[in-house]
Structures are given as C-alpha cells and as structure tokens.
C-alpha cells in the first residue's frame, strides 16, 4: 500500500512553486525545502501572490486560499522531510546539485518513501543509482506552468519497481492531472518530440523560409497550435531550450537535438526571449 499524503518539494523556483501549489490545492500537506530562509520566504511569497491573484480574479475563495497556504510548510531543514511519503525534487538542472540534495533527503526519509525528480534533461536512472533505495525512485515530470498544464510524465528508471509507478500514476490523477508512463529515454515523450521540431523551425527560419511571424501564423492557423513555435521559444527562454536540447544531444548524439547555430548565437547575444525583451518575436527587427 503506497498511500501518499505528505509531500515534500525540493526547491521553490518556478517549477517547485507550481508543483507545491498543485499538490496543496489537491489537499496535500507540502513541505518546501530551500537552501536558505530568504529563498524559502521568496517562494512562499510567490505562492501567496499567485493565490491572491486567483482570489482577485474570482477563481478562488479567500477560505480556499487560506486553507491552501496553511498546507504549505517552507523549511530550510532537511529533517522536516522525515515524515514525507513523496518527495519531488525540483532544483536546478545540475547533476551535482541534484545528487547532493537527494543524498541528504535519502538520509532522513523512510525507506518506503517515494523519491522523484522533476528533471527534464537528466537521466532518472543515473539519479536513482545514487539512492540507497533506487527501486523507490522515479521521475515525475511536470510542465510549466505546472498549475495550468495537465500532463505529468511518470518516468520509470531501470531500477523503479512497479508499485512505485502505480502509486505515482494514481497520485497524479488525484491532483487532477493526466499521467503518462514513460521510459527513461532522453526527453521522455514530450521533449523528444518538441525539441527536434523547435530546432527544425529555427534552422528553417535562419535559412529564410519565411518571416518569424508567418511561420507562427502558418502553424497556428494551419495546425491549430495555440502558440506558434517561435513565440513558444520566446516564452520558454532560448537559453532554457538551448540547455535542454544540448543535453538531449549529448545523451543521444542524435542530430535532431543539436542546437542550431542561430539558437546558440542568440543565446550568446543575450537574446533569450520574453525575459530579456528580445527573441524571435519580441523584437521589432526580428518580427
């Protein structure tokens, strides 16, 4: 029996906050672990702000907000995770950083606890290998923004046991998301399909196929995509895409994942998309 009640989220950046919010809204108590008080407070502020905005828009009652915020427990002490049934790691995409925090968590949680990573770029199997109970380790890949995106990829590492996958799928469904089970291959399903497509668009744009605006319009109107690929890249952040696709390329040596030269140039020039105000579509000269 793998009842998941108490959840812990490691890191309260964009993904960590979103995941904590999803879990708390579904009624789980969520411990949020950060490295220092300032970051923990900032994360809590961000979550409170997001809930206040929901109240302002009439999408959430004040009682619901307070109820939800009461379930969030920011901490800087890993010992506070000792009672957790499920740990979701959402720290920076850096193998060494993830290893260090996961080792610390492994020392305090029960051997029966399920520990997961929200990585999109690293091998889940490789992270499982450093755990004392690798069979209790899996990937739990949420999408950004976690509150809005329905999908969660449940990633089976080579070591993951069946009951963990079953428990995670039912957990994902209980927090109102759609679970798909995937093997631990680079990019899982979504990024395996998305990254080559985005790279292909960047390369074709660089070769002068059409204007950035016309490429987006064609795919929005022709295929019913909500956001055209170049707007999507601006939204994701060109540096984030470059990092993800370079990781997938390193893991597979598959040409389809190789960062196109224009992408690398734009990242070098600090044109990272919406967050810097200049990207494929956000600069007048480019559009």
């Amino acid at each position: 029996m793998d009842a998941i009640n108490r959840v812990a989220v490691l890191g309260c950046g964009t993904m960590g906050c979103g995941i904590a919010q999803v879990c708390a809204l579904a009624g789980h108590d969520v411990v949020i672990l950060e490295v220092n008080k300032e970051r923990a407070a900032a994360g809590f502020e961000q979550l409170a702000g997001s809930m206040n905005a929901a109240v302002d828009r009439g999408r959430c009652s004040i009682a619901m907000r307070d109820d939800m915020l009461n379930r969030l427990h920011p901490t800087i002490s890993v010992d506070d995770l000792s009672e957790s049934d499920l740990v979701i790691e959402a720290v920076v995409e850096n193998l060494e950083v993830k290893k260090e925090i996961l080792r610390a968590v492994a020392n305090v949680v029960s051997p029966e606890a399920i520990v997961t990573t929200n990585t999109s770029a690293l091998s889940v199997t490789r992270l499982a290998a450093i755990m004392p109970n690798p069979q209790r380790f899996a990937g739990l890949h949420f999408f950004n923004p976690a509150t809005a995106m329905k999908l969660v990829e449940v990633v089976r590492a080579l070591q993951t046991e069946e009951s963990v996958i079953t428990a995670l799928i039912s957990f994902v469904q209980r927090v109102g998301k759609v679970a798909v089970e995937v093997g631990d291959s680079p990019g899982f399903i979504v990024n395996r399909l998305l990254l080559p497509y985005l790279n292909d668009v960047i390369q074709a744009f660089d070769e002068g196929l059409a204007s950035a605006a016309d490429i987006d319009t064609a795919l929005e109107l022709g295929l019913g995509y909500r956001v055209g690929p170049l707007s999507l890249l601006d939204l994701i952040g060109l540096d984030v895409h470059e990092h993800a696709t370079r990781n997938a390329y390193d893991a597979t040596l598959d040409q389809a994942f190789a960062p196109p030269p224009l992408l690398t140039r734009m990242v070098s020039a600090g044109r990272l998309g919406n967050k810097t105000g200049v990207g494929f579509r956000t600069q007048k000269e480019e559009a």
Binding site: F143, M149, K150, L151, E153, V178, V180, E181, V182, G183, S185, F188, I189, V190, R192, L193, L194, P196, Y197, D200, V201, A204, G208, L209, A210, S211, D214, I215, T217, A218, L219, L221, G222, L223, G224, Y225, R226, V227, P229, A256
Partner: protein, 292 residues
C-alpha cells in the same frame, strides 16, 4: 461598400477544388468550376451547394446570402468559359506534367493579366510554372483542407514569380477573408515542412517503444496542447495520404526525417489506412465511428 469582385476559374472539382470554389462564391466572386470529368463536375457542384446549405442551417449564413453565393457558380466543361477569368486556381491531382500542361494551355486561353494559382501541396511551384509560357504569372496558393473552414493560405513565390503577380495575389487572398503567409518555394512550404517530420518522429517513437499510441497522443495533447494527438490526426488524414506526402517530400529533400517509417509501409500494405476503413492506429469498429 462592396469588395472588388473577381472572375475566378477553378480547375478540378475534387475535395480541394470544390472547397476552394465554396470560398470564392461565398466571397462574392463569379466562379467557373471546370472539370473534364462530367460526373466529378456535378458532384463538385453538389458539394458546394451542400456546404452553403449547411452554413444556413447552422446559422452561419442567411439563405439570401447562400442563394447569392450559389448564383455566382458556373459549372463548365469548356475552356472558353475561362477566357474572362482574372484568377485561375489549379486544383487537379498532384502530377507535375499534368499541371505544367494545364498552365501552358491556359496561357493560350486566358487574358494576358490572368493570375495563375496552383494549389499544389508537395510539388515545386517553380517547376509547375516552368510549363507555362509566362511563368512570372504563376504563384502557389496552398489552401488547407477543408478550405471553407481553414483560415490559412500559404502563398508560395516561385523562382520566376513576378512582384506584380505576388502583390495582386496577396490582395486577392485578402478578399477571401483568409490569412496569407508568404513562403519560399521549398518542399512542404511551412505547414507540411514541419508537420510531416513531427508526425514521422511520433511514429518512430511508437516503433521504438518510447510510448504507446494512447500515451503519445495524450502527451502531445496535454503536454504540447495540440488540438489532437498525432495518431488521431494520422487516422483522419489517412495513412496512404501521409505515406504519399512523406515520400514526395523525401524524394525532393533526401532528408530521412521525411521518409515514411517502416510502420507506415506495413500499415498501408495491410490496408490499415485509418478512419476511412475503420482501422488505423485506432480501431473504429466498436466505437461506430465509420462514416462517409
């Protein structure tokens, strides 16, 4: 104030030809629908009328508007009826020789200023234009299926398309309440250029066991927010059609991403062509989804 009105010729009364004809008559353009096959011509005319009637019944159009649109339509088996056309849209089967011959012939029949539009989706506009005695008048206008419902038209400039032909074409497409995008004459233009490798990648992911038909469809719908999953879409398009488009692009580009994956070849060989036969990536028998 009414929009400027054109006289338009549509060659080929198949799915695309009749769909484009519907767009034209609805926009107030007198339209000559031409097909050498009399039976096909009648069917095409019926399809236009049926679409307009349906638009009335679902409240998208008044019956007076539908009547005016129908009055704009002329079914023709004679080339002479094309002589007054300002724009001729070619929507015959995807055969380079046939399209080249058609435009060569039309150069003799039509006015010197007539715009020649090809609705090809996989052939080179430049190569098609090369068959016309005045290739500068030929431009690609690629409508999406179903043409009356889809907003997009890809305008494709061939190597020899003149600026005048291009700019008059952009003005004409605007009169149809469509959104045009301009693309170079490269295989697949924009939409198929990106859709076909994406779909083939989905099929290869299925082949290699990364996911199932259901999990990949779910992941694409909810993780990428596409309106439908790739296998649902492929079943609607038809595996035979997907194979033909992929192969045509592959032969032009020699890029393996466009090559139909082995699973597609097997499914086509086995007659698992998708919805139209009740079996593709999904089975439509039990669901009772087979329709005409």
């Amino acid at each position: 104030m009414s929009e400027p009105s054109f006289t338009v010729g549509i060659i080929g009364a198949g799915t695309m030809g009749s769909g484009i004809t519907t767009v034209m008559v609805r926009s107030g353009h007198r339209t000559v629908l031409r097909d050498t096959n009399a039976e096909c011509l009648v069917t095409g005319g019926h399809n236009v009328a049926r679409f307009l009637d349906k638009s009335v019944s679902i409240g998208k159009m008044s019956s007076a508007e539908a009547r005016r649109a129908k009055d704009n339509l002329v079914l023709s088996a004679q080339d002479a009826d094309l002589s007054e056309c300002d724009v001729v849209v070619e929507a015959i089967h995807e055969d380079l020789k046939a399209k080249q011959e058609l435009f060569r012939h039309l150069s003799d029949v039509c006015k010197p200023e007539t715009l020649f539009h090809t609705n090809t989706s996989t052939l080179s506009v430049t190569a098609i234009a090369a068959g016309a005695s005045n290739p500068e008048r030929v431009v690609g206008t690629h409508y999406c299926n179903p043409a009356p419902l889809m907003k997009l038209v890809e305008v494709v400039r061939g190597q020899l398309t003149s600026d005048d032909t291009y700019s008059r074409t952009i003005g004409f497409i605007a009169s149809l309440d469509k959104k045009s995008v301009t693309t170079k004459d490269v295989p697949g233009f924009i939409v198929n250029r990106f859709l076909i490798p994406f779909e083939n990648n989905c099929i290869r992911s299925l082949e290699s066991g990364v996911g199932t038909v259901e999990s990949i469809d779910l992941a694409v719908r909810h993780g990428l927010r596409h309106p439908m999953g790739p296998f649902t879409l492929l079943d609607i398009v038809g595996l035979d059609v997907h194979r033909a488009v992929s192969l045509s692009l592959y032969e032009q580009l020699r890029d393996p991403r466009f090559a139909p994956p082995p699973l597609v070849e097997r499914m086509v060989a086995a007659g698992q062509l998708g919805r139209k036969v009740g079996q593709g990536f999904y089975n439509y028998d039990q669901a009772g989804l087979i329709g005409t």
